[in-house]
């Protein structure tokens, strides 16, 4: 029965013809398919297997040992600037280590590490302008730090205290800063991508010499919002850098269960979009690639993808134990043979810009700074109870005022049952 139905449908399909319009003004001489820019016909039936195409190579500047592979770079990085970038990478490592521990000790509820991705975070951030707007997923701490979202601010948000710009409403690591043009992070994946296209469209309308950089992972790239965002950015010509952190894992899902094509970059062609694949653990290469991409996006008002190949060395989050789904040997290999931080340090050492004393000092001072920020954030009060009801709308609707009064009465009546002494009381 089913076979018969399929046959009938095939017959219907082949008997359909596109009606040639006799009323519109178009020329038959070039093309008669409005859906193709240019139609060419062949008499050989082609059925191309994309897995036979060569894998798109990754751009790299340093090898795994930190040796400069080429001096031919379009955008040179002043080696002293690299020292500053290295320090920021070390800052990410210090925060990651101590904050993760503090989650295990119950001091914060949740944490997400950046281990293995420090290079792509700091490298890309350093290539952007402060006028550029940034959308993140949740594993971009180095981008935030480089831009000026300091460690103390990170701690405030993770401890949900009264100094948190988000007023204690979100899980740790879901921060944002209007001043730094960095949009507040949300948990749903890829939702930021079409928003990034929208912001870029406005920057173009305003003729601002700026672009949007939008970070996301290999898993998020499977979401419908990824497809929508890239298609919109391409058709509406929006200056946005879609920066994919392909780190091999989406929680426990490896990339061979996430997609079948050649990474995320191979999709760019489908949107008529340019793209760059870069060794994500080579901070200098990521810098170069981002600089080039930014230049293209801003001068051409067009989108571009950067796919940074890297590896997620930490668990997905503090709620995850990656030992249950991946080999320890794999993790160890990346840690010992392709660590973005070591590669830069070796490069700096080879340039006589860094030594073991400086290294020891840096690590010690970072550790001290993190602990100080953390204890300061932990001691601060929580936001006021009123923050439960404000900012839902631009103005507070009457029903929320009523509900707020209800809650205040309840908390007063059962004060001893609700531990609200830590909540700031507005004067």
């Amino acid at each position: 029965m089913r076979a018969l139905r399929r046959f009938r449908l095939n017959v219907l399909w082949s008997t359909r013809r596109r009606p040639l319009s006799t009323t519109t003004n178009f020329s038959l001489s070039k093309n008669n398919l409005p859906s193709l820019a240019e139609a060419k016909y062949v008499t050989e039936l082609l059925n191309h297997d994309p897995s036979q195409d060569p894998i798109i190579p990754s751009y790299r500047v340093l090898d795994e040992l930190g040796n400069l592979l080429t001096t031919k770079q379009e955008y040179h990085l002043d080696p002293h600037a690299v020292v500053e970038m290295y320090k920021t990478m070390a800052e990410v490592e210090a925060i990651d280590h101590i904050f993760m521990q503090s989650q295990r000790h119950g001091r914060i509820s949740f944490y997400m590490q950046n281990s293995g991705e420090e290079g792509l975070q700091v490298g890309s951030a350093a290539a952007l302008s402060e006028r550029d707007h940034i959308f993140s997923q949740y594993r971009e701490l180095g981008v935030f730090l480089w831009r000026g979202f300091d460690m103390q601010q990170v701690a405030h948000q993770c401890f949900s205290n009264v100094h948190d710009l988000g007023k204690g409403r979100q899980m740790p690591m879901h921060f944002g800063s209007h001043k730094l043009n960095m949009y507040t992070i949300s948990s749903p994946l890829a939702t930021q991508l079409p928003q990034a296209s929208g912001v870029a469209y406005v920057l173009k309308r305003r003729r601002e010499n700026a672009c949007v950089a939008c970070y996301f992972g290999d898993g998020a790239a499977s979401e419908g919002d990824f497809h929508a965002a890239l298609n919109f950015a391409a058709t509406l010509e929006c200056p946005v850098i879609f920066f994919c952190r392909n780190n091999g894992w989406a929680i426990s899902t490896p990339t061979d269960e996430q997609y079948r094509g050649d990474g995320i970059l191979s999709r760019a062609a489908g949107y008529g979009m340019r793209g760059i694949r870069v060794d994500g653990n080579d901070m200098l290469a990521v810098f170069e690639a981002t600089k080039a991409a930014r230049n293209y996006a801003v001068t051409q008002s067009r989108p571009i993808i950067i796919e940074a190949m890297t590896y997620r060395r930490g668990h997905h989050s503090s709620s995850d134990d990656s030992n249950s789904y991946r080999e320890t040997e794999e993790l160890q290999w990346w840690r010992d043979n392709n660590d973005p931080v070591s590669r830069v340090r070796r490069y700096l050492e080879s340039q006589q810009l860094w030594d073991s004393d400086q290294e020891a000092d840096l690590r010690q001072s970072m550790k001290k700074k993190v602990k100080k920020c953390m204890s300061s954030a932990e001691r601060a009060q929580k936001p006021p109870v009123e923050a439960l009801f404000t900012d839902v709308y631009a103005e507070m609707p009457k029903r929320l005022e009523e509900q707020q009064q209800d809650l205040k009465r309840h908390l007063k009546k059962y004060a001893s049952n609700y531990d609200t002494k830590d909540f700031h009381v507005s004067p």
Partner: protein, 308 residues
Amino acid sequence: AMETDPKAVVFGEDVKFGGVFRCTLGLVDKFGSDRVFNTPLSEQGLVGFGIGMCSVGHTAIAEIQFADYIHPAFDQIINEGSKYRYRSGSQFECGGLTIRTPYGVVGHGGFYHSQSPEATYCVPGVKVVIPRSPIQAKGLLLSCIRDPNPCIFFEPKILYRASVEEVPEGDYMIPLGKAEVVREGTDVTVIGWGSQLRILDSACEMAEKEGYSCELIDVRTLYPYDIDTLEASVKKTGRVIISHEAAVTGGWGAELSAKIQERCFLHLEAPIKRVCGYDIPPSPLVFERIHIPDALKNLDAIKETVNY
């Protein structure tokens, strides 16, 4: 809005040529194609894009071709748009967003050109507004566009061709968050919105001929709604009918019933009666006429409630 606000843009599927209901006719000639443009066919994309534009201060008037297709944008509306201000501590907001979309049965729409999903989208952080007529539509839409919160404006599609009114030419706004008493009466309070108002008005007309005095209220802004106007009326009449096309269970009438009984319990003389769609996917084509909560069903409900 396009004239007074240079940061206002109109976009969606097929809006450039004028739109499938001709709502955007002539706009591109007047304002240019960077302000009036087509987007690729993706509701999640166009709402996300709109949210982005608003977060940098633009006024985005997004069209979803039929409310039946708003659901792919549910994530962007619920998880992003409605929470944009709250989750960022007011650092970011997308108040400039207004989503316009045709809703409701039209006689032959079946399941995918007839839906009334308004209740699903009444969530904290968003405003939901539904006009009953052209004059109301212009004033309410301008208010939505200028309101500093993201709004969803459901337009009764059955009225696009059916409804003719002398709409004032100037700029005027009708306030959000205020219900309107469209017909005064003393025996029963009849509540509805959008295209249902015509049906309810007809039912009230028939009821008046049989000696029942009906007070008819148009809710207009469903979220956050004006309970005070509803409360004042119910305290006067003691009886309530709520009518909407969407399925009765969990429809917006359920919320209004709960709140009304909370405020007016001792004043009620009869149970609150809802005259709504049945609990089936709305609206099966050949059965639409008998499915919808029409004037006769409402007339019977009025009589039953007043005589309780």
